[in-house]
């Protein structure tokens, strides 16, 4: 499970996780998706980019 908030700044990144995963799975560029979702800081971006859903 993705952490509820960004570990560094506390932004609620998990709320965007499903949309991020669906859109990148369809082949959209992760950069475009993150910009579109308003995830601007690099601390929050790494939360979504680096997360691996294991089960």
């Amino acid at each position: 499970m993705i952490p509820v908030r960004c570990i560094s700044c506390g932004k609620v990144v998990s709320a965007y996780f499903d949309e991020y995963q669906n859109r990148t799975a369809e082949g959209e560029d992760p950069k475009v998706v993150l910009d579109d979702l308003g995830v601007n800081r690099y601390c929050c971006r790494r939360m979504l980019i680096s997360h691996v859903e294991t089960w």
């Binding site: 499970m1 509820v4 506390g10 709320a15 089960w55």
Partner: protein
Amino acid sequence: MEIDVKKKQENELVFIIRDSDLSFANAIRRICMMEVPKIAIEDVHMIKNESAMFDEVLAHRLGLVPLFSDSESAEALLIPSECDCEDQCPKCSVSLVLRKKGPGVVYTKDLSSEDSKIKPVHDTIPLLKLMEDQEVELEATARLGIGMDHAKWEPTTACAYKHYPHITIDEKCDQCQKCADACPRGVLEFDEKTNQIKVVDLENCSMCKSCVRVCDHKYITIGHKDSDFIFTIETDGSIPPEEVLIKACDVLSNKADKIITFCEGGS
């Protein structure tokens, strides 16, 4: 002191404070983060949890979920230490119920609150996963608290200020344009009409001094104004940023009043 609002969005407020000082700006920043009360889940009563996730992990995740509350219902709630009840009562707490059967992902939209005005800000936060025939049932109690006690009660995410930048370009500048090329944030630009380097986006300057380093004759200098600040308040959605600022000012003036009465010999 002058305040100039630069950007105002649902969860973000950027403004400039002029003719103030560092200690004041820092006091406001620290109070915004640490002493403005908001509502968050504090106690979780697990009735049934058959999922793979441990009770305490789930309780921690629930605590971090931001709860939206309009100012009226938040002010109607008492801070638990000021309430006359022993443990919890409707005056100082709000309860939320989660009941779900697997298979599937449980989201914050499945949390139902007893008070329709106090509910999760986002409906899409995944809380836990349930397999076939697994079930979760719990009752959570939300209370008011401050960021000093736990990060879940911090209304702000990014809350920071920076000095207002001040760029001076010497008259002797030879217009080599190196500084404009070196700036990573597009603050400087070469104006072909006047044949001069122009500051086009001063507030975006991060004072990295890349331009100073490439200038061979040190014609450009980067400084800051001691009395001006660019302040950013970003919230998690539970309280609007303007309200965070107003409440922080209230807290600060209450603290100042306390010092005055103490110095005058009161208690």
